[in-house]
Symmetry: C2
Subunit: 171 residues, 2 copies
């Protein structure tokens, strides 16, 4: 008999709520911003603590994620101890529901009760601080591309743990 | 009497054509790619030579650009001698025509005859190598957001020159 799965509360993503886990990359008056290019462009400046870790450098990749089916069971979590990892959606606003973000605080391997789940909009990126537990990419509805900023450098930087029982997400 | 402006040829953006100026960030079988996240996600790996320059670090910002009116007259160009600068569109495919990219090779200040103009699609980013002359952001049709990866570090990193006569872009 398998244990009953916790149903996660899905919270809207905000910089304040996400602060214990890292940064939200978004256009916001809370960010430092200024006008450049002779008035054409507004620069929202330096939105994330990109951390390439010891001996590492920041690299840019594109992740193409297949959509998850809801309800979705969170059965694994991972962390990168040596550097941050940022995801910026490339699919624009439109009718998109965005994507899901599941995190837990750094430290010992999380259980279902330790998880927080956020619904990020298509105009919000997230940057996981080094050591923050997170679920791999959770695209919704359609194949979705993200620009990913993470670490290239010496030593293995990915650790994965299983959750049993897991936790359930629905929308 | 002002001089006649050169009409620029607008070329489709490709990694090959853009190679003298930097990198194109895009999903492509020409890029190194591999499957992660238990089969859910394809990672197109390390797509740009991000160069934070001496004593610098890579930072992530969002540029919100107002659309340009066509025909557009290229009257200034700029370069960053100390680091690269990448632009990744965040507005997704849809009906977008993408955005325009005007570049010239490193070296002495360019004249109109030295310019190349590319039409980038909404799924193509560009990374200007350090020293490559480029026009400030040229969004089309609508207010457009880009994730920008450039340099934070000591010393001024932006130089601008005027073109007279300029060059004309139309689509």
């Amino acid at each position: 008999m398998s244990a009953v799965q916790t149903l996660l509360t899905v919270e809207p993503l905000s910089a304040e709520a996400f602060a214990p886990f890292g940064d939200v990359l978004q256009v916001s008056d809370q960010a430092e911003h200024f006008t450049i290019n002779a008035g054409n462009t507004e620069r929202y400046h330096d939105l994330a603590r990109l951390d390439p870790g010891p001996g590492g450098k920041v690299i840019a990749s594109i992740f193409r994620g297949s959509p998850r089916t809801l309800p979705f069971s969170v059965a694994v979590m991972e962390r990168h101890l040596l550097g941050s990892q940022a995801f910026m959606p490339l699919f624009g606003g439109g009718a998109s529901r965005g994507y899901l973000v599941v995190v837990a605080l750094p430290g010992k391997a999380p259980g279902a009760a330790d998880l927080r789940c956020f619904l990020a909009s298509a105009s919000q990126g997230v940057n996981y601080a080094a050591g923050v537990w997170h679920h791999p990419l959770l695209a919704l509805d359609t194949v979705s591309d993200f620009l990913v900023l993470d670490r290239s450098g010496p030593d293995d930087n990915c650790e994965e743990v299983a959750l049993d029982p897991g936790a359930l997400i629905t929308l």
